[in-house]
C-alpha cells in the first residue's frame, strides 16, 4: 500500500517537473489570452511604482540615520564635507518648475538613469556592510532589501514606460540607457566612496525618484491623490 502511494507521488512529482506549465516560473498569467485576466491599468502601475519608491526611500532614510547615530560623532550637518555623488553628472531638475518643464519622456528617462546608476553601487554597499562586523544583520538586510527594491523599481518604471509608449503617451525619444550603465561610483579623487557617502547620496537620489514619479503620475493619470 505504501509502495503504491510512493510510486504515485513520484509520478506526480515527475509530471510536475516535466510539464513546462507546471513549473513555477515567471510565465505571464495572461499568456493564454486576455479573458479572465486582470490587466493592470496605468494608474495601478503608477501606484505600485510609487509605493515601491516610497519604501525604498524610507529604507535609505533609516540606514542613513543609523549610520549617523552610531558611526559619526554627534554632530549636526555642520562641518560635514561631502564629496560629490557619482550621479551628479545626471542632470536632474532641482525644482518643481524645472521638473514640470521637463517632458514625460525626459522625466522618465531621468528616473531610469538614476535607478540604473544605483544598481551596482547598492550591491557594493550591501557587500561592504555585510563584511563589516560593525553592522548588525538588521542593517545588512535593509541594505539588501534596498538593492532589491531599486531593481524592482527599475523594472516597474520600465514597464510603465512601455505601457505609456503603447498608449501613445510617450514618444520614441526615450534614449537608451546603455550609457548610464557603466557608471561607477567614483569620486573625483578616484577613491571609492564610503558607505556613509553612498548612503547619503542614495537617500537623496531615492527622494528624487519618488518625487519625479509622483509628478509623472499626476501629470499622466491625475484621477486621485493629486
Amino acid at each position: 500500500m505504501s509502495r503504491s502511494l510512493k510510486q504515485v507521488a513520484v509520478l506526480l512529482v515527475a509530471l510536475l517537473c516535466l510539464d513546462p506549465h507546471g513549473r513555477v516560473g515567471s510565465a505571464p498569467i495572461c499568456a493564454h489570452g486576455p479573458s479572465g485576466c486582470h490587466v493592470p491599468s496605468l494608474a495601478d502601475l503608477f501606484d505600485r511604482v510609487i509605493q515601491h519608491s516610497a519604501r525604498m526611500h524610507s529604507l535609505s532614510n533609516d540606514l542613513h540615520s543609523e549610520f549617523e547615530q552610531y558611526f559619526l560623532p554627534s554632530k549636526n550637518h555642520i562641518g560635514k564635507i561631502y564629496r560629490k555623488c557619482h550621479t551628479s553628472n545626471i542632470l536632474t531638475p532641482n525644482g518643481k518648475e524645472n521638473a514640470q518643464k521637463l517632458a514625460r519622456e525626459e522625466l522618465t528617462e531621468v528616473i531610469l538613469k538614476l535607478l540604473m546608476a544605483w544598481r551596482d553601487p547598492l550591491f557594493q554597499l550591501h557587500q561592504s556592510m555585510a563584511d563589516q562586523q560593525d553592522f548588525n544583520s538588521f542593517s545588512s538586510n535593509k541594505a539588501l532589501e534596498m538593492g532589491d527594491m531599486a531593481h524592482e523599481l527599475r523594472k516597474g518604471v520600465e514597464k510603465v514606460a512601455e505601457k505609456m509608449r503603447v498608449l501613445g503617451m510617450l514618444g520614441n525619444s526615450v534614449t537608451g540607457l546603455s550609457a548610464a550603465e557603466a557608471m561607477l561610483p567614483l569620486s573625483e579623487s578616484g577613491e571609492a566612496m564610503s558607505d556613509y557617502e553612498l548612503l547619503y547620496c542614495f537617500r537623496r537620489d531615492s527622494n528624487k525618484v519618488q518625487n519625479y514619479l509622483k509628478i509623472l503620475k499626476c501629470r499622466i493619470v491625475p484621477e486621485h491623490d493629486c
Binding site: 526611500h57 550637518h77 560629490k84 532641482n94 527622494n207 528624487k208 509622483k214 501629470r219 493629486c226
Partner: protein
C-alpha cells in the same frame, strides 16, 4: 617689530577703554532653523548674539555644496527680523546649502557656525485651512464630521508634495487630546462623543518626509442632547439568554435519558419466561406458545405409583391387604426388618412373610425354585392359565437359578402338599417370627436371594402386581430346606395361637385338621366372590372356600383339583361366563381386587 608691539598695546588699551565704555564687538549669532513650507522656498532664522552696545548688522551668507561662490541672503524682510527668505529662484532642492550669519558692528563682527541645509528635508507645511466640524444626525446616533482643506501653499495637485493629516478632539475640561489620523483625506467622522457637550477640534498635516505643521485654530462643536439607545445592553441581554438556552439544551441533551425516564416512565414489557417477542411478531403463534410450554407440567406421575399408594384396603381381622408388588419389592430390597408396620405400606407382615417364603422356598433345591417360579407366575397369570395347575411354562427366566419373580414363592403346582406348617391360626406376622419356627439357617440365604431378585421385572411380566393377596403361609418352614419337597404348595395359613414364647403357631387354612373354628375363621375372614358384574362390582358369597368343591360344580377346575388351595390358581368361572378381561380370580372365588383397579 616695534610697530606690532605698539599696535598690540594700543588695541589692548582700546579694548579696555571700550569695555569701560560698555561697548564691544557683536556676539556670535546663531542660526536657529530653516524651514520650507512647500518645498519651493525656504526661510532661515537666526538669533543675534550680544550686540556689544553698538548697532550691529547681520548678514547671511551661503554657498552651495561643491561651489565656492558665496551668496548673500536675497531677502531679509519678508520673513521678519533676523530671517532670510529664499525665493523660488534661489531655492534648489537636493542641494546642500552652507549658511552662515555674520554680525557686524563698529567694533567688530562675528560669524555664526555654518549650517548645512537640504531643502528637501526641511519641509514644514502650513496648517490646514477651513476646518469645519458638523454634527451629523443618523439612526445610530449623532456624530461629528470634521472637514478641512489643504494649506494653500502646498501643491499636492501636481504631486510635488504629499500631505497626510491629523486631527485631535477634546472637551474643554479635558487635559488630554484624542488624536485621530486621517491619512491623506480631508475629512473625518468622529463618533462616540458625549451628548450635550462642547468639543474642540484641531487639525494638522505633514508631508511624507518632513515636519508636522502647526495645529489649526480650535474649532468648537457642540453635541446635541440625545438619549443614546442602549442597543448594546439589549444585545448583551439577548446573547446572554441565548447562551443560557444553549446551556440548558445541552444539559437536557446530555441527560435526555433520565429526562425521558422522568417524563415518560417506561411501560413494563412482558416478562413471561420463554416468551419470545420476535416470534410473536413473525406471526408464528404456535411456536410462541410452544416455547411457553414447560416440560414436565402438569407433572405426570407414574400411575403405577399412584396405583401403589391407592391400594390400601384394610379390613380389621379379615384383612385382605392388597399389596403392591412394587411395594413389596421395595421392601424386599430395602429393608431387612420385617417389622415395618407402617399402615401405609400395607401389611408388612404378610409381605415380609412372603419374602420369607421366597427365601425358604429357595433353600435347597433350585429346581424347586424353578418350578415354583413357573407356578408362581402361572398362578398369578390368571387370565392366561386356564389350568388349575397353572403349569404354564411361561416362567420368567432365571438368572443363575435365583428366583427372580416373587410369585415363585406361591408356586405349588404339584398336588402333593406338604404341610409343614404348624397349625396355627392364620395371622399376619412379620417374617422373622415365623421363620423362627422354621429353619432359621435357611432364611438368610434365601432371603438374600430374594432380596436380589428383580422383582419389579416380575411385575412387568404380569402387568399387574403379582401377588395381591397377602398371604401368610408357610410351607416347609419347620423342615429343613432340602427336605422341602417341590410339591410343596402355597397355602394360606392362619395363626392359631401365640405361645408364650411369642411364637406364632400357624396352621393352614385348608387343613382338614382344622378346627371348626378355623372354618369359621375361614368363613369369617374371607369372602368369596360370586361374580363380577360388568360394572366391575364384586358379588360376594357367603360360602366358605372349602365348600368350593361342593358349591361350585361348575367350576370344573375347582373340582378336578385336590382340595383346592385358596391360593391355587384357578380360573373361576361364574355364571355369567368368563370373567372379564383383566380380572383374575384366584381359587375359591377370591378375586384379585387389584384387577378391579382402573388401569392407568
Amino acid at each position: 617689530m616695534r610697530n606690532s608691539g605698539a599696535v598690540l598695546i594700543l588695541s589692548f588699551i582700546a579694548k579696555l577703554i571700550s569695555q569701560a565704555a560698555g561697548v564691544s564687538a557683536p556676539g556670535k549669532p546663531r542660526l536657529t532653523s530653516c524651514r520650507s513650507p512647500e518645498k519651493e522656498t525656504f526661510t532661515c532664522w537666526w538669533e543675534p548674539g550680544d550686540d556689544g552696545g553698538l548697532p550691529t548688522t547681520y548678514g547671511l551668507y551661503y554657498h552651495l555644496e561643491n561651489s565656492e561662490t558665496i551668496y548673500e541672503c536675497p531677502d531679509y524682510r519678508t520673513a521678519g527680523d533676523n530671517s532670510c527668505f529664499f525665493n523660488k529662484n534661489d531655492t534648489s532642492l537636493w542641494v546642500n546649502y552652507n549658511i552662515t550669519v555674520v554680525a557686524t558692528n563698529a567694533l567688530g563682527r562675528d560669524i555664526s557656525d555654518p549650517v548645512e541645509v537640504d531643502v528637501a528635508y526641511i519641509v514644514q507645511p502650513n496648517t490646514p485651512e477651513n476646518v469645519t466640524a458638523v454634527v451629523v444626525d443618523e439612526d445610530q446616533g449623532p456624530f461629528v464630521r470634521v472637514s478641512w482643506e489643504k494649506p494653500r501653499t502646498a501643491d499636492t495637485r501636481s504631486g510635488w508634495i504629499t500631505l497626510q493629516y491629523q486631527l485631535r478632539v477634546k472637551q474643554k475640561k479635558d487635559k488630554e487630546w484624542e488624536e485621530y489620523d486621517a491619512g491623506m483625506q480631508k475629512y473625518y467622522n468622529v463618533f462616540s462623543l458625549h451628548p450635550d457637550k462642547e468639543f474642540m477640534v484641531q487639525v494638522r498635516c505633514k508631508p511624507d518626509h518632513g515636519f508636522w505643521s502647526e495645529w489649526t485654530q480650535t474649532t468648537y462643536v457642540k453635541m446635541p442632547d440625545y438619549i443614546p439607545r442602549e442597543r448594546s445592553l439589549w444585545i448583551m441581554i439577548t446573547i446572554f439568554s441565548v447562551f443560557i438556552v444553549l446551556i440548558l439544551t445541552w444539559t437536557l441533551n446530555v441527560k435526555r435519558n433520565s429526562v425521558k425516564l422522568c417524563l415518560l416512565p417506561p411501560v413494563p414489557g412482558p416478562k413471561i419466561k420463554g416468551f419470545d417477542k420476535q416470534l410473536l411478531k413473525s406471526g408464528k403463534s404456535e411456536e410462541v406458545f410452544n416455547s411457553l410450554v414447560i416440560q414436565g407440567f402438569p407433572p405426570t406421575i407414574d400411575y403405577d405409583d399412584l396405583l401403589v399408594e391407592y391400594l390400601e384396603v384394610y379390613d380389621n381381622e379379615e384383612q385382605e391387604l392388597v399389596l403392591d408388588s412394587k411395594d413389596l419389592s421395595e421392601d424386599c430390597m430395602k429393608s431387612k426388618s420385617p417389622s415395618d408396620c407402617d399402615s401405609g405400606r400395607g401389611s408388612c407382615d404378610s409381605r415380609t412373610l412372603l419374602l420369607e417364603k421366597c427365601m425358604v422356598g429357595r433353600e435347597g433345591s433350585r429346581s424347586d425354585q424353578h418350578q415354583y417360579s413357573q407356578h408362581g407366575e402361572t398362578s398369578w397369570a390368571s387370565t392366561e392359565s386356564s389350568e388349575c395347575q397353572g403349569l404354564e411354562p411361561g416362567s420368567p427366566e432365571f438368572s443363575d437359578g435365583r428366583v427372580k419373580t416373587w410369585p415363585v414363592v406361591f408356586s405349588s403346582p404339584q398336588p402333593h402338599h406338604h404341610y409343614q406348617v404348624e397349625a396355627v391360626k392364620p395371622v399376619y406376622h412379620s417374617v422373622p417370627e415365623i421363620l423362627n419356627h422354621s429353619s432359621p439357617h435357611a432364611m438368610p440365604a434365601n432371603y438374600q436371594n430374594l432380596q436380589h431378585q428383580d422383582i419389579p421385572q416380575q411385575e412387568g411380566r404380569f402387568g399387574k402386581p403379582a401377588c395381591r393377596h397377602s398371604q401368610s403361609y408357610t410351607h416347609g418352614l419347620d423342615t429343613p430346606a432340602p427336605g422341602v419337597s417341590p410339591s410343596r404348595s402355597l397355602e394360606y395359613v392362619e395363626v392359631q395361637r401365640i405361645n408364650p414364647e411369642n411364637m406364632l403357631l400357624l396352621r393352614p387354612l385348608s387343613d382338614q385338621n382344622r378346627e371348626p373354628e378355623g372354618s369359621d375363621y375361614a368363613g369369617e375372614d374371607y369372602s368369596k366372590v360370586k361374580e363380577v358384574t360388568s360394572n366391575n362390582i364384586l358379588l360376594l358369597q357367603r360360602d366358605t372356600s372349602y365348600l368350593c368343591a361342593d358349591g361350585y360344580s361348575q367350576a370344573g377346575q375347582c373340582t378336578t383339583q385336590q382340595p383346592p388351595h385358596p391360593c391355587k390358581p384357578v380360573i373361576y368361572q361364574s355364571h355369567s361366563g368368563m370373567p372379564q378381561e383383566g380380572m383374575r380370580v384366584m381359587g375359591n372365588g377370591y378375586v384379585d381386587t387389584t384387577v378391579l383397579m382402573p388401569s392407568y
